[in-house]
């Protein structure tokens, strides 16, 4: 790591030695500078904004008013908690749904592998908003889905769990969590697929030769070896889901507001910048703690 040696390049040795030191830095500079100025610096201005007082007309002055954090959390802790809860539930569901599909593509699809992979990736390239609007149609009372759910007793179960309020599926916590699961599923499937594809099928054969049941094979071989993908997928699903408010707004009701919507409206409608910045900063800190715990376990090289 410390020695700045070229791994392998086409440059001739003599010239390569001179080029070694600055070439990687020259390649990194413009991109990293962009990320520094427009990603890192804004985090600092966000923190600074949260500690200012004033209003839009007269301007804001830095006063180090930490009390805004207390105010933000006492007022909006339900939305914050709800966001983490919904995102967490959606992540678990995405793992349960995504794992069989990722496993199928990686190990079982054979010559259909590329076709299925295309079908998983392609919707991801189509508008997030339009697809969420489609769920609004699917879950609306006019459609068969709600009808079947009622006939099969699914809605009574959902009601008992407090996930829906009445016989409708739309505009409920259930619809929001379902939408989050759906929208972020590709973020779960792709990292899972990447690790499951590297899984040597001979290990699975060996397990069954040694009389492991399919379930034991999964628990003792497949699952442990796929853990890096599970962790990456969980992180990449949970984090965007926790800040999302599109699903909560389109598929939910006034009782399902997530923290992203609060930040958005405090910034753009209420124009209470310090409060909005404080809420945003709290969300950032939660995410940083999650990423840091991941990096401690896996290191940074596994991140990308």
């Amino acid at each position: 790591m410390a020695d700045a040696a070229v791994l392998s390049t086409g440059s001739s040795v003599a010239e390569g030695r001179r080029r070694r030191n600055w070439v990687p830095y020259a390649l990194l500079l413009p991109g990293l500078l962009w990320l520094f100025v427009f990603f890192v610096v804004p985090m600092i201005t966000l923190a600074s904004q949260s500690l200012q007082e004033g209003n839009v007309d007269d301007g804001f002055v830095f006063t180090g008013n930490v009390a805004v954090y207390g105010q933000a959390l006492t007022t909006y802790w339900p939305q914050m908690l709800r966001s983490l809860l919904y995102a967490g539930t959606a992540t678990v569901l995405a793992l349960v749904l995504g794992y069989p599909l990722a496993y199928f593509i990686a190990q079982k699809a054979g010559r259909w592998k590329n076709v299925v992979l295309v079908l998983v990736i392609a919707p991801f390239f189509t508008s997030f908003l339009i697809r969420t609007l489609a769920w609004k149609t699917i879950l609306s009372d006019n459609w068969v889905v709600t009808d079947w759910a009622n006939k099969l007793g699914v809605t009574s179960v959902l009601q008992a769990l407090g996930l829906t309020a009445n016989d409708s599926l739309l505009f409920s916590p259930f619809a929001v969590v379902m939408g989050l699961t759906y929208n972020f599923l590709p973020f779960m499937i792709l990292p899972l697929y990447a690790t499951l594809e590297r899984l040597d099928p001979r290990l699975l054969e060996a397990a069954s030769d040694l009389y492991a049941s399919p379930w034991q094979t999964f628990r003792k071989v497949t699952w442990p070896l796929s853990l890096p993908g599970v962790v990456a997928g969980t992180l990449l699903t949970f984090i965007p889901a926790s800040g999302d408010f599109i699903n909560a707004r389109l598929l939910g009701n006034t009782q399902t507001t997530m923290i992203g919507a609060v930040i958005d409206s405090q910034f753009l409608r209420v124009l209470d910048y310090p409060l909005a910045a404080a809420l945003s900063f709290v969300l950032l800190v939660i995410i940083l703690v999650l990423v840091a715990s991941y990096v401690r376990k896996a290191g940074t090289e596994e991140l990308l």
Binding site: A5, S12, F39, S127, G260, L284
Partner: protein, 264 residues
């Protein structure tokens, strides 16, 4: 029964695949609807209006044009920046590698609402007005990391001996790069560029923080329409986007397969 048990994973996988595709089918079907009220919830009557008159809803094509312009510009710049970083990471050892990895990972792992709002505070303090330029800056920022991941994955699979062979045959570093390395990395660069375009084209949350009333992108148009009633044209455009995405991904696979056969 045994047959069902043996193929349990296949059935589960196909069910999940159906779950991911159902909304796209619904969008396509409802693009041929002539809705009764403001909302396109029930299939009323077959109509091709949205397809023959895609700009029929006021403002829809202006927003589409803005999104295309921003998407193309942002993806080109992000692809250049991201490709350079990917080559540095894939081809060189250098100090500060962990910090670089972390800086690239963080934008992918930060909720959009945090990135959008923090950029807003920067732009407020720096006096940069909201509008197309602010949107462009933001889009380039969140696209770079995804390009890095796509290109780096490709660079990692390249055989360094091909470049050594070029050098042995008298190519200078620039020639080697342009004639050998770059063509070999091209699929990864193309994939990264397409990913960047679709991320930019599809972004609502970050864009909303940095847009002005005169810079309405397509997702912002759809969001606004979702409150008032969605014109059928939105569904037609959504269907076209899905078909283009499908076409591009399939073409990528076909070209990739053909290249592999040639090499082998």
């Amino acid at each position: 029964m045994a047959w069902i048990k043996r193929h349990l994973i296949t059935f589960a996988a196909l069910a999940v695949l159906a779950y991911t595709l159902v909304p796209n089918v619904i969008v396509a079907v409802f693009s041929f609807n002539d809705p009764k009220g403001k909302f396109n919830y029930t299939f009323n009557e077959f109509s091709t209006d949205a397809w023959t008159n895609p700009c029929g809803a006021p403002g829809i094509c202006d927003s589409l044009g803005l999104s295309l312009r921003i998407g193309i510009t942002a993806s080109i710049i992000a692809t250049i920046l991201g490709t350079m970083i990917a080559f540095a990471l894939g081809r060189y050892r250098f100090r500060g590698r962990s910090a670089t990895n972390l800086l690239i990972f963080m934008p992918m792992a930060t909720p959009e609402v945090v990135m959008g709002s923090s950029l807003l505070t920067l732009f407020l303090m720096a006096g940069i007005p909201a509008g197309p330029v602010a949107i462009l800056i933001a889009h380039i920022m969140f696209c770079v990391s995804f390009v890095v991941v796509a290109v780096k994955a490709r660079v990692a699979t390249l055989d360094p001996r091909l470049e050594e062979a070029a050098a042995d045959l008298g190519a200078n570093p620039t020639q080697t790069f342009l004639r050998v390395t770059l063509p070999l990395a091209a699929p990864g660069i193309a994939a990264g560029g397409l990913l960047a375009f679709s991320l930019s084209f599809d972004d609502y949350i970050i864009t909303n923080f940095n847009a002005s009333p005169s810079s309405i992108t397509f997702p912002m148009y759809v969001w606004g329409a979702a409150q008032r009633g969605v014109p059928v044209q939105v569904y037609a455009i959504g269907t076209v986007m899905f078909l283009i995405a499908l076409g591009v991904v399939v073409a990528g696979q076909v070209v990739g397969a053909r290249r592999n056969r040639q090499v082998a």
